[in-house]
Symmetry: C2
Amino acid sequence: MTDAVSSARPTIAVIGGDGIGPEVVAEGLKVLDAATGAQAFDYVHYDLGAERWQRTGEVLPDSVMAELAAADAIVLGAVGAAPGSKAIPSGLLERGLLLKLRFAFDHYVNLRPSKLYPGVTTPLSDAVVDRGPIDFVVVREGTEGLYAGVGGSLAAGTAAEVASEVSVNTARGVERVVRDAFERAQRRRRKVTLVHKHNVLTHAGGLWNRIFTAVAAQYPDVTTDYLHVDATMIMLVTDPQRFDVIVTDNLFGDIITDLAAAVTGGIGLAASANLNPSGAFPSMFEPVHGSAPDIAGQGIADPTATISSMALLLDHLGRREQAAAIEAAVDADVAQRGAARRSTSQVGDAIAARVAG
Amino acid sequence: MTDAVSSARPTIAVIGGDGIGPEVVAEGLKVLDAATGAQAFDYVHYDLGAERWQRTGEVLPDSVMAELAAADAIVLGAVGAAPGSKAIPSGLLERGLLLKLRFAFDHYVNLRPSKLYPGVTTPLSDAVVDRGPIDFVVVREGTEGLYAGVGGSLAAGTAAEVASEVSVNTARGVERVVRDAFERAQRRRRKVTLVHKHNVLTHAGGLWNRIFTAVAAQYPDVTTDYLHVDATMIMLVTDPQRFDVIVTDNLFGDIITDLAAAVTGGIGLAASANLNPSGAFPSMFEPVHGSAPDIAGQGIADPTATISSMALLLDHLGRREQAAAIEAAVDADVAQRGAARRSTSQVGDAIAARVAG
Ligand SMILES: CC(C)[C@H](C(=O)O)[C@@H](O)C(=O)O
Ligand SMILES: CC(C)[C@H](C(=O)O)[C@@H](O)C(=O)O
């Protein structure tokens, strides 16, 4: 493993994780191989997540961090226990693994595309869907805000407890992600919507507003738009067609992208990329969904989100044609999905066959 | 005005506010009168909002605060300029008026019912709607969290700027609102869902979790449930029937209730109460929607949300039968709404006539 980086083939670090994570990742790699030829990448698998912690007490050893840092990209399934579970301290794996990777590898662009494929069941009414195609991306800031891990508890566990969480936003952090959104909009329908809540969060909102306005001035061909996060909820279910690129902070992005995924057919389809566009650190590709322990081990999880994330990975590595081949195969597969249930590997096989064919 | 408090009739302070606020409030009072008889309350109108600030530079003078504090209840339309407007500093009216009232009068229960009336257009598909009746309430904490106004900016306006917002949560503040949710659930379908994001916001989430668990133990007849705020987004559009009472913090509550309003027919219908259950301060009743300056002055705003808020007001003042009369009239009016557009006052007239008849 130690000389993987110096080999000719790019190394992809693979973290299957917990629950359905390893199941969907297997299908992702299957399709990746189909798109690139089986020998394109060196895969290095890492055993991380709830099970490893329960077995060894380790979440993410420094030695593993060092290896991951040297990889060309990271594929992650999902980590974490069920939301109500008491087996693992809340936040241990999220903070100690997923967010640690996002922060340490400076994944400041958390990219989450949402597209309603023809034929996909959506919880939205025909009247809303018939307004036109739904196709937007959320550029979620990934390294700041309420995810910074700044906060604490005073008198924890007593009747006098005060618990705080601090949202930290920097001009540098906001500027780089806002700029990414404008760059992306230029390659799309040229519209960027800033989502925030500046009427209440006046300090952070003021910073986002000022930087958004300043960056926008440098992209006169891009239309801009502002929505409060609460109003965004309404628009996502009544007029999702209005969105092209949404840029927002870490927590709002988390909330918006789950709703966006739901209205475009569910988190079984929602891909994501945690990008470090500078290339200083490996970017990470993962489905938006979690580990779903309730359906783990049954071979029924939908691997499509992970497979689509592989297209984002190839795109990031400059393999645009191979990325497009996966996208086209997913499009075609999804369009002809009927009511019949397929297993996780059947979906992977079908998409891989389309990519290879 | 100064002796209103000592008169036999309860005093209701009325703040029409900006945009469509005064228009919808007029209809609310019309229906209130129809339900109670014209002389039941003394209405005292206060001229507050964007226009007053632009004219006088005053947002909420201390003398007005003192009068409001002595009222038996407050009716508020909406305050604030359009989201993109530069005429009024962002947050000035929200922080200086709306939130000031919620905080000064300790409105710790921000109650927002969501019910899909038969016949109402929803952005949700028939498949979702046909699962069963949608009828839940959100008990949003109203006096803490990210709304505390704690935060600041360092090096504001420079490339070195750091802006923070602090979510402050106290055991006392969380306990009282969680208890209210359980009390309410006992009068409903006996289920409380806590919504938070304790896997990331570990300090605040830990506090909410611990208190929720402790309070739940005192209500063994109430079922409990936990969802992360992002997963809540998905459930609200795919399975809103699963909710009875949702309890959550101030910001999550803001976000959830706009989505809840949207899926149950739009913010034109969404009522809210800012309650100080102890009675130490007047409670405040307002529609969830904002001032909508784009449609102000045209007489086309839907006053239903404000009218339903008047039912919450009567309920709070112990006038349960009169509250029920308004609810029934709104139910009946909404059920027979067709495609024909009525003016703001036509809707008010129609509901008032049903209440009186
Ligand atoms: C698991 C959790 C920490 C994570 C987040 O909140 O970012 C997830 O919800 C996501 O959206 O990737
Ligand atoms: C206007 C704004 C300050 C307010 C809030 O965020 O609480 C509004 O959105 C609401 O939900 O009542």
